[in-house]
């Protein structure tokens, strides 16, 4: 066994230069599987390197022999009839055995790695319940009683142990820079995945199993942060919504059509206090985590309407609108069909990684989510739109967006 381990170490030592090359290559390839940032990802990578090297060797030998044969044995005008060989038992046994040996070299570490990576996660791991929905991700931290969506925070150096369930069809949970994927198959019987992130950063996650119309729009972000930052994030997420809807002063004129009063002082204060240190700093987001999804051609929202948005009015609208049927805001609404919005303003994207989370996109999203994201289950809220569930004018929508943005 020790001899075997030594052999294994030698192989891995030999792979190190390639590993370094792989790391160098990931500049410009933010979602590459190479140079993974967790022990599980690196274990999987090591096997991939072994396979690439052996595969590359076979490729060079076979294609080399083929090209050599094509050049050397091309027909020449004065050729004689070639020797009519019908086979060669020794040769044929040899080239049956050589692949068998190569495959054994692959099979042994493969099987060992299967058992290593599918062992139970270490005690004291951070538990994360992942629930796949068409087409967004729900993340729950049962140890901290936090529910959020489409953005994962993980502390560096602590094993994150995922329990994967689906609410509807099969999805697949994949963060290429952190670990291999795991399908999200059942509603009750979960799948498991664990890994320990070892460097801080922002990573892209994808749904890797075709799950219907917006499969391509089922992305998520993972922020690996220091344990201190993680603790701060947890504390922040455990508090109630940043804009206490119950405390907001009712605005008597919101019900009047066309009434567009100036934003209330409370709202201005909330918008100004945009100094949330618990979440990943937006100005440090790498470019590949900032969505560049173009707006649908026939979608627009008036900038001046957004300028007049009032979160206090938005809070009132939210409480009485269809929103509460699907979305939870702690202390405000109990809906569980859509993402939990208690701290929606603290997220960097909306629509499962599809658009930046700003007033411009949020207003359009509320107005007509289906135009923004094909197949979205959330019905349009804008007045007069087909299949609309709400009948809000643009100002009301801007107010709602301002309210949600304020929920840092």
């Amino acid at each position: 066994m020790t001899g075997f381990h030594r052999a294994r170490r030698t192989v891995y030592a030999a792979l190190t230069p390639v590993f370094v090359l792989g790391l160098a290559a990931c500049a410009g390839f933010p979602d590459t599987i190479f140079g993974a940032h967790s022990e599980i990802g690196r274990t999987e990578d090591r096997l991939t390197y072994l396979l690439l090297i052996l595969g590359g060797l076979v490729f060079v030998l076979v294609e080399g022999a083929l090209i050599w044969a094509l050049i050397k044995f091309r027909s020449k005008p004065n050729a004689t009839t070639p020797k009519q060989t019908h086979g060669n038992t020794t040769l044929e046994i040899t080239w049956t055995l050589i692949p068998a040996v190569i495959l054994a070299v692959i099979a042994v570490p493969s099987v060992r790695t299967i058992f290593e990576t599918q062992a139970a996660a270490a005690a004291g791991s951070l538990q994360v319940d992942v629930i796949g929905h068409q087409w967004w991700w729900e993340f729950r931290y049962p140890q901290y009683k936090i529910t959020t969506a489409n953005e994962l925070y993980l502390p560096v150096g602590r094993t994150a142990s995922f329990t994967l369930r689906t609410d509807d069809v099969i999805h697949s949970f994949w963060i290429p820079q952190l670990a291999g994927k795991r399908d999200v198959v059942h509603k009750e019987r979960p799948n498991y995945l664990w890994f320990t992130p070892d460097s801080a950063g922002a990573w892209n996650g994808f749904c890797a199993e075709y799950c219907g119309t917006s499969h391509s729009n089922m992305r998520f972000r993972v922020f690996t942060v220091s344990p201190e930052q993680f603790a701060a994030w947890v504390k922040h997420q455990q508090t109630g919504p940043a804009f206490p809807a119950t405390a907001a002063t009712p605005q008597p004129d919101t019900s009047k059509k066309g009434a567009t009063p100036a934003p209330s002082p409370a709202a201005t204060a909330t918008l100004a206090s945009d100094t949330n240190t618990a979440t990943y700093p937006r100005d440090q987001l790498p470019t590949w985590t900032v969505p560049a999804t173009p707006l649908p051609a026939d979608e627009h929202f008036d900038e001046s309407t957004i300028a007049k948005a009032d979160p206090a009015r938005g809070a009132q609208i939210f409480k009485t609108a269809a929103c509460i049927g699907c979305h939870t805001i702690q202390g405000v609404s109990p809906g569980i069909i859509g993402p939990n919005l208690t701290h929606v303003g603290s997220r960097t994207t909306i629509g499962a990684g599809l658009y930046p989370n700003d007033m411009k996109h949020l207003t359009m999203w509320i107005k007509d989510a289906r135009l923004m994201k094909p197949g979205s289950i959330m019905p349009p809220m804008g007045k007069g739109l087909p299949e609309a569930m709400g009948a809000f004018d643009d100002q009301q929508i801007a107010d709602l967006a301002a309210y949600l943005s304020s929920l840092k």
Binding site: V62, T113, S172, K181, S216
Partner: protein
């Protein structure tokens, strides 16, 4: 209509089927049916290719908006379904039909009318599924149609109804043909045609038929469950009623992996015919080539769950399926090495069929190597459902199956039509296809390793995938251009190609002993076979491949004595298999079109009456 069908056919009536459109509708001649398969398969190959061009144009750059997400999902579903079930399988079936009776020295297949039925059912199934495009409701659940996305709950439209029923119809065609060819090969070999003298293509076809016979019932069951779920409210895949979505995956891949070999083995067989002819040497290690075919087919039933390493089967199942998958690489590798051994020491002449044959050896190897990479589950978790897989199976199916089938088309076109395809155009076709396919599919390896998931309608900017996708799109259009050259060459050469003569390539197997195109009765006298390569002298063929014929493009094909003149009894043409197919299809149309019970009953009645009329009609004219 039904009463007309039931009327007993009069013997003399056969004359009206001798020429024109009726001669095709009523044919039971395996060579004509083979040509029908070939034309239809090439047409679907073009349509599947157009779908691919839409896909590639949509993915050319980030955030593409050429087609909508729903249309894109229909496009990739139908591209896969079309290429697998309507292009590659029927193109293989074209060669089964054209070649098996010729290669074993028979006059026709065992059940000529069942053979016609297989073709018509295939045509009906493929048209049925594609009619969905006309109402913009093409199947959109992927060619693998995973549960529960394929159920009414998550796919309420008619899209997957078309897929379910279309696949059911197509499966009937394959099964009927499978039993037919197995019977033919076992029972109708000419005197002296021992199993170990059979041409390797016929061997590959033989093994493939067993795969079809054993694998298609599984998908038939899986699809029947789904059909019952969707139409009659059963709960095989309804998760709301407690169904396990993995049932579908196991059933589908238990069919789906043998299906991979159904797609590749016929191409292996064709290349095993082409390489010896143009190397001027017999196939290296014939027995091992045959055993490896059988071994691949056998092991092919024990590896299905390697498509499911990410679903959470647990470490034991993952390990077992990993090792069985690695095992299958051994007989596959042996085939590659034996093809190299065939060329080694030969006098290689690079005619178009040979170029495509070499293309298979070189390109399938790449797909084989990446295949071994997926066999290691921990590594596969990084690869599966990414573009790396898309690269892998296009090397296998385009670099392997299509290259082999193109080799077969160029090689057997002279036997099929009596005329040669243009060599210069053939070489243009090969080189553009070779460049285009590598440009299209090799960068997909990098896109996949750099994290690009499969089946995505659109991807964001700044992911590092743009360049790979640009290249893939250019490659796809080069393949399209190459295919246009092929189509021109194929269609024009039918009437204007140089006269081929019996054996333009100086090939070794017995089908080359008969005139091109063969008369409807094939061999005027059934040959007696004494060796594997009866057309080559004992000491070996002439050192060099003969020059490709270039003369006689303006001359008519030679004519032969008819079967009557020679006193040979051939099956009478009949349109009853076509009528039976129409009845069957009508019943399914009634099912999908608002479940019209009267239409379903009418279709069923036509089907049953046609079957009775078919069975009661004598196979050969009374005399």
């Amino acid at each position: 209509m039904a009463t007309t069908v039931a009327a007993p056919s009069v013997t003399g009536k056969a004359h009206k089927y001798e020429s024109g459109i009726w001669s095709w509708l009523a044919t039971t001649d395996h060579k004509r049916i083979g040509q029908l398969y070939m034309y239809t398969a090439i047409a679907w190959f073009v349509i599947g290719g157009i779908e691919a061009l839409f896909i590639r144009s949509q993915l050319y750059g980030p955030n593409g908006r050429l087609v909508s997400a729903d249309t894109y999902n229909q496009l990739f579903t139908m591209h896969g379904t079309t290429m697998i079930f309507m292009a590659i399988m029927p193109l293989s079936a074209a060669f089964f039909n054209l070649l098996i009776p010729l290669q074993i020295g028979a006059r026709d297949v065992a059940f000529p009318r069942l053979n016609a039925f297989s073709y018509w059912v295939f045509l009906a199934g493929s048209v049925f599924m594609n009619v969905s495009w006309l109402i913009h409701a093409a199947p959109d659940g992927g060619w693998f149609a995973y549960a529960p996305l394929n159920t009414r709950q998550f796919n309420p439209g008619v899209n997957m109804d078309f897929w379910v029923i279309g696949l059911q119809i197509l499966g009937l065609s394959s099964l009927a043909a499978g039993f037919n060819f197995v019977t033919t090969i076992i029972n109708m070999r000419a005197p002296g045609m021992h199993f170990m003298r059979m041409p390797v293509f016929t061997w590959a076809a033989f093994v493939t038929q067993f795969l079809i016979i054993l694998a298609f019932p599984i998908i038939t069951v899986a699809v029947t469950f789904l059909l019952f779920d969707r139409f009659f409210g059963t709960n095989f895949y309804e998760i709301a009623a407690g169904a396990d979505p993995l049932l579908w995956q196991h059933l589908f891949w238990l069919f789906g992996h043998p299906e991979v070999y159904i797609l590749i083995l016929p191409a292996f067989g064709l290349v095993s015919e082409v390489l010896p002819t143009f190397s001027r040497k017999p196939l290296f290690g014939y027995p091992v080539m045959v055993y490896s075919l059988i071994l691949i087919a056998f092991l092919g039933f024990g590896v299905w769950a390697h498509h499911m390493f990410a679903v959470g089967m647990g470490p034991v199942a993952d390990s077992i399926f990993s090792v069985t998958t690695m095992l299958i690489a051994i007989p596959t590798g042996v085939k590659i090495f034996n093809w190299l051994g065939t060329m080694w020491g030969g006098n290689l002449s690079f005619k178009t069929p040979m170029l495509f044959g070499i293309g298979l050896v070189g390109l399938f190897t790449i797909g084989g190597i990446s295949g071994v990479m997926h066999s290691s589950p921990p590594s596969d978790l990084m690869q599966t459902d990414s573009y790396f897989i898309v690269a892998h199976f296009h090397y296998v199916l385009f670099g392997g199956s299509m290259m082999g089938l193109f080799a077969g088309v160029y090689y057997y076109f002279p036997k099929m039509t009596g005329r040669m395809m243009s060599e210069p155009l053939g070489k243009w076709h090969f080189w553009l296809t070779f460049i285009g396919m590598n440009l299209a599919f090799f960068p997909m390896h990098f896109a996949g390793l750099n994290g690009m998931p499969r089946r995505i309608w659109s991807y964001d900017a700044n992911q590092g995938w743009d360049f790979d996708n640009h290249l893939s799109t250019y490659g796809a259009f080069i393949i399209a251009f190459a295919t246009a050259i092929f189509l021109y060459n194929f269609l024009r050469s039918r009437g204007h190609g140089a006269l081929a003569g019996n054996n333009p390539w100086d090939a070794p197997t017995i089908e080359w002993s008969m005139p091109s195109p063969p008369p409807d009765y094939n061999y005027a006298k059934i040959p007696t076979v004494t060796s594997r390569y009866p057309m080559w002298p004992q000491q070996g063929p002439t050192p060099l491949s003969p020059p490709v014929p270039t003369a006689g493009g303006d001359q008519p094909l030679p004519t032969y004595q008819t079967a009557e003149q020679l006193g040979i009894h051939m099956p009478t043409p009949t349109i009853k298999p076509l009528l039976a197919t129409m009845g069957l299809t009508l019943a399914f149309v009634g099912l999908i079109w608002h479940r019209q019970i009267p239409i379903i009953l009418l279709g069923g009645a036509i089907f049953i009456v046609s079957l009775y009329a078919w069975v009661l009609t004598p196979l050969e004219p009374e005399h």
